[in-house]
Every structure is written in structure tokens, then in C-alpha cells.
């Protein structure tokens, strides 16, 4: 199926660049230059080198035997949790910092929810010696204190987003406002496949290394590049976009996206956008969006701060609408149980975001011959407090 972005930034009915005129020159500069810059051989060499030597790529594709036994399929884990900084987020921030340098930008801003993208941004800014400001919702700062301090140790300034609901969407609003006020010398590193075109496609391309490696590694291990299933969690959807990217055209590969259902999709406390959302416009793109009848954006809820976003990337809205990907939603409780199960069966404590992807295994039916790849997008160290508070282990 065609999942390519068109020249106006659309994936099917979703995408575009709904930005105030104040940001037009910045977005236009990116749109005109990002392909040429990122496809340049020198850029690619530097990017690949950093992914290898600094991030630690390729990440292993690990055959999880005990998990496979339990679910009756051949399950592989794509170990993004082993990336430097503990999650896939750094693939994108390495790419964008190199891009920002080519564009001559001296300062970096970013938004963060759980703090993983903020840490990954602060990390590459330290690496390149660039000034870094990270906006984070005041409420998220309180519940993700260790990541706030990690960013500060790395030399970034963490600015609390005090407007609105004081979480990820407000941190994104504040980062956009900062960019409006500082358009010439600043690059905004968006952390997910959201925002105005070309961000969703640009971030997906930087993350596409995940599925490129899966193909290569599966060929070695299984004699075929194509799994039967690829499963990934979706908040904004960057790890899923990266894990799906090189399989879009392979219609025999089932793409499975897992959203956070919080306390349940009927509870009023959920972040399952494809279940609860309608088409709308937020943060520069037309996508599925959780909103009131009057078009006001609704604050989502999930135990996982990284899935706590009222929209999804436009590519995922398109994958959903076209039926190219199946979508599941998983409650807090199901995700926590799956996180502990992975810890017990494989000795890997996953990030609670990633635990959502594992909880989907329970909801699916497999043949013993099925090859299933679960994208283990991050490690659980940052979530210890949440595991402890939940307590059922």
C-alpha cells in the first residue's frame, strides 16, 4: 500500500502544515532542505557513524524463547531499549542535531512528556556543544523527576510549561511559542511523528533505521526479511513509524499499533486516539484527535507519560483509516502485567510505553510458525517508581 507522504505533506487525508504565518519561513526552510541535506553522502556517513559508535546500533534482534513458548509463536524483540539513553528517541535527535547544524542553527528547543525525548535531545546537544532548552509540563516534571535532573546534568535548561493542562500537549504549545519568538537562530527538535510537514516524515525517516535493521537481521536468522507481525506502541507514534517504515509496501506483514487505554476506553481516562478521536487539527497537522464536540482538545490519560498525547501522527491516522495497520488498545493494568511478565520470562524490564506493545500479544492469535517482532522501544529504569507504586509483582 502507498504510505508515502505527498508533496503537500499528506498521508491520505491526514497531515499538512497548519502553522501560523510566523512559523512559515522556518517550516519552509526545513521542507525545502531536509531531503537534500539528509540524503547527502557526508551527512549519511556522519549519521550512520554516530548511530553505530555513540548510540550502539545495530540494536540486537533477540529471539525471546520463553515468551515465544507462552504465546505459541516465534517472537523476536527489537532491542531499542539498549540504545544510548535507554530508548529509540535518540535515533531522531542525532539526525535532527546534524540537520540543525547544516541549517546553521545555534540553539535547540524541544518538548518532552515522560522526559525520554528531552533527555535524548539534551544528550545530543551536549555532544555537539549546543544550547538546549526543553519544555516540559509542570505536572510531568513532578512525576518524572529523575529525567528532569538527567537533562540538567547534561546541561539543558528545563522550562516548565505552566499553561493549559501542564502536560505534553502544553509543553509542545510552549515550544512552538518559543520558536515563534525566536525564529532565526533556533531549531525545534520535535520528538515524534507529529507536527507540521515535514516533521512527521523526517522523524519517521530517522527512526526507519529500526525496520531497516529488522529486515537485515531477520534475513540472517529466518532466511526471510519479512515477519508475519510487527507490533509497536503508539503515543505520537515515532517508534511504531520506525518499526513499520520499511514494511509499508509488504502487505503480508501485519502491522500492529497499540494505544494506551488508561483506565479503559469508556472510563473517560484513556489515550486511545483511534477509538476516541475524530479528525481535527493540532500542532500543525490534520490527524485523529481527542476533542470535545466543540473542537476543544481533550486531555488524555495513561499511566505511561510517553503515550499520554491527545493525537497520533498523521501517518498512523492514515494507517488506521486505510486498514493497513490493526490497532489495539491496552489498559494501564494490562500493560503493567505485561511489563512484569517480560521481566520474569526474559529478564528485561521494559518501559511502560513498550509494555503496552507486549500486552497486545494476549489479544492476538498466532500460528506456531508465525514470526512476530515486538519493538521494545525503551527500558524500564525511568518507570521504577510507577512499577513500585503499582506494586503487584
Amino acid at each position: 500500500m502507498n504510505v508515502k507522504v505527498d508533496k503537500n505533506g499528506y498521508y491520505g487525508n491526514f497531515g499538512g502544515a497548519y502553522i501560523p504565518e510566523m512559523l512559515y519561513p522556518n517550516i519552509e526552510e526545513l521542507r525545502e532542505n531536509y531531503e537534500q541535506i539528509t540524503e547527502d553522502a557526508v551527512f549519511q556517513k556522519q549519521f550512520q557513524q554516530l548511530l553505530k559508535d555513540y548510540v550502539g546500533r545495530p540494536t540486537p534482534l533477540y529471539h525471546a524463547e520463553r515468551l515465544s513458548d507462552k504465546y505459541g509463536a516465534k517472537i523476536y524483540l527489537k532491542r531499542e531499549d539498549l540504545c544510548h539513553t535507554g530508548a529509540h528517541k535518540v535515533n531522531n535527535t542525532i539526525g535532527q542535531i546534524l540537520l540543525a547544524q547544516r541549517l546553521g542553527k545555534k540553539k535547540i528547543i524541544a518538548e518532552t512528556g515522560a522526559g525520554q525525548h528531552g533527555v535524548a535531545t539534551a544528550t545530543v546537544c551536549a555532544l555537539m556543544g549546543v544550547e538546549c532548552i526543553v519544555y516540559m509540563g509542570e505536572i510531568d516534571m513532578a512525576r518524572q523527576k529523575p529525567n528532569v535532573e538527567r537533562m540538567r546534568i547534561l546541561g539543558a535548561e528545563v522550562r516548565p510549561a505552566k499553561s493549559g493542562s501542564k502536560t505534553l500537549k502544553d509543553a509542545t504549545n510552549e515550544a512552538m511559542r518559543h520558536w515563534i519568538n525566536n525564529p532565526s537562530d533556533t531549531h525545534y527538535i520535535i520528538g515524534s511523528v507529529v507536527g507540521p510537514h515535514p516533521y512527521p516524515e523526517m522523524v519517521a525517516r530517522f527512526q526507519s533505521v529500526i525496520s531497516a535493521e529488522i529486515r537485515k537481521q531477520l534475513l540472517e536468522k529466518e532466511g526471510t526479511e519479512l515477519p508475519d507481525y510487527v507490533i509497536a506502541c503508539v503515543g505520537g507514534g515515532s517508534n511504531a513509524a520506525g518499526a513499520f517504515y520499511n514494511f509499508y509496501e509488504d502487505n503480508d506483514v501485519n502491522l500492529v499499533a497499540v494505544e494506551a487505554a488508561g483506565l479503559g476506553n469508556d472510563s473517560g481516562e484513556s489515550a486511545a486516539t483511534t477509538v476516541l478521536g475524530k479528525p481535527g487539527v493540532l500542532h500543525g497537522s490534520k490527524t485523529l484527535l481527542m476533542q470535545t464536540e466543540d473542537g476543544q482538545v481533550v486531555e488524555p490519560y495513561s499511566i505511561s507519560a510517553g503515550l499520554d498525547y491527545p493525537g497520533i501522527g498523521p501517518v498512523h491516522a492514515h494507517l488506521f483509516e486505510s486498514g493497513r495497520a490493526q490497532f489495539h488498545s491496552v489498559t494501564d493494568e494490562e500493560a503493567m502485567v505485561a511489563g512484569v511478565e517480560l521481566s520474569r520470562l526474559e529478564g528485561i524490564i521494559p518501559a511502560i510505553e513498550s509494555a503496552h506493545a507486549f500486552a497486545a500479544l494476549e489479544k492476538m492469535e498466532f500460528k506456531p510458525s508465525d514470526v512476530v517482532v515486538v519493538n521494545l522501544s525503551g527500558r524500564g529504569d525511568k518507570d521504577l517508581e510507577t512499577y513500585i507504586k503499582w506494586g503487584k509483582y
Partner: protein, 257 residues
């Protein structure tokens, strides 16, 4: 002819456009504020449709949006409040808002209601020119609504020309790289930008907004454009204690006086 076009024909100078957020400070203040503005000498009124995520706005207007939403403001209610607008208010009215609430209301239905109550134009900062031309323009045109575009100090000359060619009514000149209410005063850099745009002799009148807060900044803006837009400073003025009508009258007269 649209009321906005008529206004600039009869008064090409010192046009004062005042912004406020519908449903603020109190839910039912909307129409009363508009009546007071006209009586006090404002030439054009920009009514903000509150939104949960107003990314182009600074703290003052963000807060007014939050208060208005908490008061229970909706697009549907706004049209009810404006149902008898044209029985008492004669000056042109534009609605300013973010695109999502309008998409949810239905673009066609929204434009139809605008025409019925007597709205003359729309300012939708997150509706890009490309989308406007492709999808929205025919609907706006069919209902006599002018779409007001923004330009900024970063907008290229070629794009300013393109915007001028696709505009009717006036062009909203954002005075500096900023969100609303972020900066006050006008620097020499900004004056150079104003002069640059003035020298382009655009077809459309221009109104300068962002950073205009009092007589001094209003006069400076008027020396460089056909008038100016005041938002955050007016929101602060009507947030004050005391008689709303009196506060509005004092504010407007302080600016144009």
C-alpha cells in the same frame, strides 16, 4: 461591498481594531463589549473564539481563552450571542480563531452562520494559505467572508506579494517575531520592516498588530500603516474591576484620544 472594504474606503487612516475573547471576562459579556467598543470609537472588532491550545498567543490571551472556556463558551453559543448583532452594532466584525473548532462545527455551516449574523471576515492563524486556496476560499467567498492573512518581519517579499494578491479587506502585519502580547513598544528594526512593507505599495490596507498597547504605539503604527490592532492590552483593561462600559470607554479614548 463588504463592511471592511467600506471602512477603509471612508477611513483610510488611524483605523483602530480591537480584539477580545468571546465569553470573557463573563460568559454573556460578548455583545455588550462590542456595543461599548463601537460607542467608544473603535472602527473594527475582532472577536476571538476561545481554543484550548492557542499556540500563536501569549499568556494574556491564553488566559482569557482558558477563562472563556471555563465559563462555558462554545462556537454554537457565540452565534447565539451574536444573533442580534446587527441590530445594534454597525462597524465591521471579524472572528479570530484556530481552525479546529471550526472544522468540528463544519466549515460550510460555520460560514453560513457568520453570514446570517453579519460577520465580515475571518482571521485563522493556523489556516495556511495553501489550504485556504484549495479548500476554504470558495466557501468563504460564497458567504461574503474575507480571509485576513498575516505577514511578519520574516515573510519574504515574494510571499507578501502573493498574500496581497489573494487578500481582500486588509493585511494583518504582525509587528515582530512573537506571540501576542509578548513585546511592547516598537523598535527601530520594526520601523525598518514597516517602511519596507509600505514601500511595496500593496493593494490592500495594512493594520499593525502585536505590541500595540497605548496611544504612543498606536500613533507609531498609524504612521506606518492604515491603523492598528490591540489585543492583550485591551484584555488586561477589561479584566479590571469596575464598570465594563466605563473601562472600555477610557481605554479606547486613551488610545485614539
Amino acid at each position: 461591498m463588504n463592511r471592511i472594504e467600506k471602512l477603509f474606503e471612508t477611513k483610510p487612516e488611524r483605523v483602530l481594531n480591537v480584539y477580545f475573547t468571546a465569553g470573557y471576562p463573563k460568559l454573556d459579556d460578548t455583545l455588550g463589549i462590542m456595543q461599548s467598543l463601537e460607542k467608544s470609537g473603535a472602527d473594527l472588532i475582532e472577536v476571538g473564539i476561545p481554543f484550548s491550545d492557542p499556540v500563536a498567543d501569549g499568556p494574556t490571551i491564553q488566559e482569557s481563552n482558558g477563562v472563556a472556556l471555563a465559563n462555558g463558551m462554545t462556537v454554537k453559543l457565540l452565534f447565539e450571542q451574536l444573533a442580534e448583532l446587527r441590530q445594534t452594532v454597525n462597524i465591521p466584525v471579524v472572528l479570530m480563531g484556530y481552525i479546529n473548532p471550526i472544522v468540528q462545527y463544519g466549515v460550510e455551516a460555520f460560514c453560513k452562520r457568520c453570514q446570517e449574523v453579519g460577520v465580515d471576515g475571518l482571521i485563522l492563524p493556523d489556516l495556511p494559505m495553501f489550504e485556504y486556496m484549495e479548500v476554504y476560499k470558495p466557501v468563504f467567498d460564497a458567504h461574503g467572508l474575507l480571509n485576513i492573512f498575516l505577514i511578519t518581519p520574516q515573510t519574504s517579499e515574494a510571499r507578501i506579494r502573493e498574500i496581497d494578491n489573494n487578500s481582500k479587506g486588509f493585511i494583518y502585519m504582525v509587528s515582530s517575531a512573537s506571540t501576542t502580547g509578548a513585546k511592547t513598544g516598537i523598535s527601530t528594526d520594526q520601523e525598518a520592516y514597516f517602511a519596507r512593507v509600505k514601500a511595496m505599495s500593496l493593494k490592500n490596507p495594512t493594520l499593525i498588530g502585536f505590541g500595540i498597547s497605548n496611544k504612543e504605539t498606536f500613533d507609531k503604527a498609524c504612521a506606518n500603516a492604515n491603523g492598528a490592532i490591540i489585543g492583550s492590552a485591551f484584555i488586561k483593561a477589561i479584566a479590571q474591576e469596575g464598570d465594563l462600559d466605563k473601562n472600555i470607554n477610557e481605554f479606547v479614548n486613551g488610545v485614539i484620544g
